[in-house]
Amino acid sequence: MADLTTNIGALTLKNPVMTASGTFGYGVEFSDFVPLEEIGGIIVKGTTLHPRQGNDYPRMAETASGMLNCVGLQNKGVDHFCEKIYPEVCGIDTNVIVNVSGSSPEDYAECAARIGALERIPAIELNISCPNVKDGGMAFGVTCEGAASVVRAVRKAYGKTLIVKLSPNVTDIVSIAKAVEAEGADAVSLINTLMGTAIDIEKRRRMLSIGTGGLSGPCVKPVALRMVWQVAHAVGIPVVGLGGISTAEDAIEFLMAGACAVEIGTANFLDPAVTVKVVRGIDAWLDAHSCKSVRDIIGVAE
């Protein structure tokens, strides 16, 4: 059995496999299928300072090897998380990380500060890349100035590990990564969903309630992998890779591209037990290739 431990800055993971925000609930929804403590980290659904109802139904359209969604950050707000959810998840023996979103740098900072006060939450993932809300989200993530302004505000309010989740819906993701690194982010995670749409040809209209949605699933993997490679070769902070991972082999590709850890998202919908299968698959691959540690393969792809 290989050493699967890896680090995101000061944060140690027992293995490099985490769950992507918005695809694994608060973890407890999957406890019938997966021993949660065997996952390297659980990134829980996007949390905002105030409750959000999200967008209208329909919020989803199936695509070839993937799906579009426009959920729009439905959540009950940070107070609900602290009072109702945290007591349920703080006992899970893994890194429980909260994905934080907002509509102004001040919102983000206040939400982050509230989460920062929770002893058993060692890190947050800052969502500056949600394509499905008008008032913020991706608006910050598509310019260097916007991304920097949010990270600057949050960095002042939050002392633990700060991961910033980047949008692929940009011309140059490397420049955004460098901008958030310069403001003190401890790590970046990428990619969030790719903006797309789908049309119902019988009804002659777009399928999603707000017209567009974020594309996820195996179809986005090559794009995600390319961006992870580019960013990992351009910044000095750790990179967390995600986008279309559904097997151990997919995860190993991201690790070889330079990611120190990965997140599994949409694949959880198809196989609720996929996370643990990927962990075991990475372990078996490392053994079969006589690698003593998962760290031996991080960034090895030229």
Binding site: G25, E29, F30, F33, P58, E62, N69, V71, G217, F269
Partner: protein, 264 residues
């Protein structure tokens, strides 16, 4: 407890013009967890562009024979692929999911001291979960009455099976079987008094039945079929507007008392 299981197809029978009945061999630990009104998430193997699982309601669970029945209307590529299954094939399911229809205590309250007389109303393939519920009601000593609707005779599903289970009334839109018209126009509704109504079918039909129930002051619950991705309350795609805000049909439903919904 929910689980991911591979179940063997004991039989796959064509039903009506466009549906298939899948009888799956299921061990006791799987059938013991199931309740009428719940659903399963079926993985569709071998269809080119079918990415997500398909939510299918439990048509019946026979604990003695060790079988789970699914009644599948073949409407798209995914469900057509399910229609190609043959005896001996395996099907991967996540199950059981969702809340289920009302238990006896709720029916008793709705009857307010009178005999419990539930009316189970189904449209098209929406009849599927009502069979399991009706069969279960009988095990509780409650006689279900069925009111089933379809566009035409060839689209009526499992009619003989329903008739074997309880009094069954039928409407077809073209009059090819039973009374002509919609379920809400059936004469039984003006002749008899029911203490609760349980509906599954197309949206407009469920809304029409809900309006009838409200006007008559009869408790009514509906089983919704919103498009889903995960079925586990994680993706938040299948939401329905309720008096409590947007809630997941997969976990808070699929069965809702109509008073919880914002239907007018």
């Amino acid at each position: 407890m929910k689980s991911i299981v591979d179940l063997r197809v004991n039989a796959a029978e064509r039903k009506g013009e466009n549906a298939v009945l899948l009888r799956l061999a299921a061990p006791a630990e799987v059938t013991a967890e199931c309740r009428p009104g719940q659903f399963v998430q079926v993985r569709v193997d071998g269809a080119k562009d079918t990415f997500l699982r398909r939510p299918i309601s439990l048509h019946h669970v026979d604990r003695e024979r060790g079988e789970v029945w699914l009644l599948v209307q073949m409407v798209g590529e995914g469900t057509r692929q399910l229609g190609r299954l043959r005896e001996g094939d395996t099907l991967n399911l996540v199950m059981p999911l969702g809340n289920g229809f009302s238990q006896v205590e709720t029916l008793r309250k709705a009857a307010a001291g009178a005999d419990i007389r539930p009316l189970l109303v189904g449209g098209g393939v929406g009849v599927a979960p009502l069979y399991y519920y009706g069969a279960w009601l009988r095990t509780q000593g409650i006689e279900p009455t069925f009111l089933l609707g379809a566009r035409s005779k060839g689209l009526l599903l499992q009619l003989e099976e329903f008739e074997a289970l309880g009094r069954t009334f039928v409407t077809t839109e073209d009059g090819s079987y039973g009374e002509k018209g919609f379920v809400t126009q059936h004469s039984v509704l003006s002749k008899e008094r029911f203490t609760s109504i349980h509906v599954c079918g197309p949206g407009p039909m469920m809304k029409a039945v809900a309006r009838y129930a409200k006007a008559e002051g009869i408790a009514c619950e509906v089983s919704l079929e919103n498009m889903m991705a995960c079925g586990l309350g994680a993706c938040l795609c299948c939401v329905e507007k309720t008096v409590k805000g947007n809630v997941c049909v997969c976990t808070e439903g699929p069965v809702f008392n109509v008073n919880e919904l914002t239907w007018s």
